[in-house]
Subunit: 383 residues, 2 copies
């Protein structure tokens, strides 16, 4: 039976072209960017090129506004804690939407343990942030507000530009976690007024263990990884050349192929949504249209997400329930609860995130597997 991978939001294979491009930096063309000899020069050039590709993907003004980190979690920590710590003169109030990734929420909680006031911004039943609440709660001593570009569990895309406008009226900084969105949908940091943007490599078919942070000129997050002063001092440590070059190439490919691939995946996604919603008592979570084109997510009510996942695994189909990052706690997803779902509904969720290996031909098998899984689990359920 063919293996069908529907969990691109949890882990994404590296694009073979990315590996082909970057693998020379593992052996032949390696060198320490700080070395003065010819190997060092080649490394510095490769890093600048990768920075340029990331800048182009999100329309940053210059490649100098991009720094590389070890991944989205580090980027989120640096952007939030670093910028908040640097701007305590302005104030000690920070905010995040209630559906942010756990690395954002935990960074905020850490600040709140250190004398900051951390406010949570609610979302509506579709997962869209409440702009009126944002406006009401923003004060002159608000510094960092963190709102994700799109949510990885429910696919909803947030009104970033409108939020940025409100935040800037009060002199605050908007950090946007674009882990689920960068490389998937167009992002324009200048037009949208984004001050700090977290970008993941692996989520766009680049290597794991590398990420980036866009930092608008003038903003200077206080670093927490200190040393040789790499990445303009914001993040020391010998550069992960393979990862950085690979991420650059992944960004280039994403920009080039985004429009076509989105069209293809959205078509598959829409058919999946239509056919899965025909199963009785099934609901789509997140926004119907303002959502990531490769993303579909459901609740089935009164059955366990873990059971759905394990049953689907029997069909050789890999899907997710809740976020991979928090799945091991077996708690109900904080994202689904924030939409107003009850605990028993939030437990029975299923997330389909499509990618390059998926095709229209897989649709009947996926839908059949979902239908049989849900019917079997409901027949067994005591609820």
């Amino acid at each position: 039976m063919e293996k069908i991978y529907l969990d691109y939001a949890s882990a994404t294979p590296v694009d073979p072209r990315v590996l082909e491009f970057a693998k020379r930096f593992l052996m032949k063309d390696m060198g320490n960017a700080s070395s003065l000899h010819s190997a060092g020069l080649g490394t510095r050039k490769a890093i600048v090129e990768a920075r340029t590709r990331i800048a182009e993907l999100i329309n940053a003004e210059s490649e100098n506004d991009i720094i590389f980190t070890s991944g989205a979690t580090e980027s989120n920590n640096l952007a939030i804690k670093g910028t908040a710590m640097r701007n305590t003169r302005k104030g000690k109030k920070v905010m995040a939407s209630v559906i942010e990734h756990i690395s954002v929420l935990n960074s905020m909680k850490e600040l709140s343990k250190n004398g900051f006031e951390f406010g949570m911004l609610p979302v509506d039943s579709m997962g869209i942030i409440d702009l009126d609440q944002l406006k009401e709660r923003l004060t002159d001593d608000t510094t960092v507000v963190s709102i994700m570009y799109a949510n990885n569990e429910i696919g909803t895309i947030e009104p970033i530009k409108a939020a940025a406008k409100l935040i800037h009226e009060k002199g605050g900084f908007l950090h946007v976690d674009a882990t689920a969105a960068a490389g998937k949908i167009p992002i324009d940091v200048q037009n949208e007024g984004i001050d700090l943007l977290t970008i993941s490599s692996n989520d766009m078919y680049g290597p794991q263990g590398v990420g980036a942070l866009y930092i608008k000129p003038g903003i200077k997050p206080q670093p927490f990884i200190l040393g040789g002063g790499q990445e303009r001092g914001f993040r020391s440590g010998t550069e992960n050349l393979f990862g950085i070059a690979g991420m650059g190439e992944a960004a280039r490919l994403a920009k080039e192929e985004m429009a076509e691939e989105n069209g293809r995946l959205q078509k598959i996604r829409d058919q999946l949504i239509e056919q899965i919603l025909e199963i009785e008592n099934t609901n789509l979570t997140g926004h119907r249209t303002q959502r990531l084109p490769h993303h579909a997510s459901f609740t089935f009510g009164r059955i366990e997400g873990e059971s759905i996942l394990l049953n689907m695994n029997q069909y050789n189909i890999q899907i997710a329930t809740g976020s991979a990052c928090t799945s091991r706690t077996l708690e109900a997803s904080h994202v689904l609860l924030a939409l107003g779902l009850k605990h028993e509904e939030a437990h029975g969720s299923m997330i389909i995130s499509l990618g390059k290996s998926n095709s229209e031909e897989q649709i009947p098998h996926i839908v059949k597997a979902v239908r049989e899984t849900i019917e079997r689990l409901r027949a067994m359920s005591p609820l």
Copy 2:
């Protein structure tokens, strides 16, 4: 003309066997370790295996004592700042040898800006730490003392076991930066009494962008990268599977081949030292015997290290002057100054760090290039 790479301490190519072993985790066998489906299971297993290989390399009691980070710089920051911050009840005094890597020194300086007292431990003219001074300066409120296993600029190996004994008598913690030593010479954290040990992947032919930290059970550094609670909560973020698996394989190979490779390199190294010291007014830096087997370092007096490096580059030979991590500042090496060398001597240094591509056949060409370079530069020098 054949290219001769003598700068393994700055950047090391990935061993082809490491790439062969780990590359499947980039595409086929990828999965998020937190995912509950079968791909997640495979990832978790691969990570445990890599942890085991690292534990075996340094004789840790259990693979649970190993956490993966983004590299040696992050490991140093976490070990030092995290452990100091966690143990403020015991005291706020920290210490490091004066020849530590800049990531250690800058972590210590950051602590000193936050109310800690940071003491620098002197070394003798060979680079060996002053154990009497250590004993004298240790007090009951000393928490973290950081002493490197071996120095990357002068090759000197420190008396770690003796230092650990003194530190433990006062209830302090010994952090050891083994970036230059792990995988090169035997390390036994249990026998030597090491509490925290920084290990670099790339320095032992593993991928860049990954490192490890050994944490003795009972020590709980305060984390600064917060999120999904990976790496026992000490370091969140989706695991860099390729990097981690590659580092594990690199550790396995290093352990297996260390004795033989050391014998081979030491033989080349000793001939290089002997023949280069025949050049007039040339000195070996660091300890003659208590040093890394693949490492030779020199000063030539009154000529610029940068000129030596660029001249050697003309012979297609890549060497280093000072540490790559600080070379761009063009300041005299803090390590050489700590040995008691004058500024003009410390500027004219050359570091040879040998590795797998080097052979005895290269010796005549290397020595000839060094001799001609030094003679040419001295003829040109106004000093």
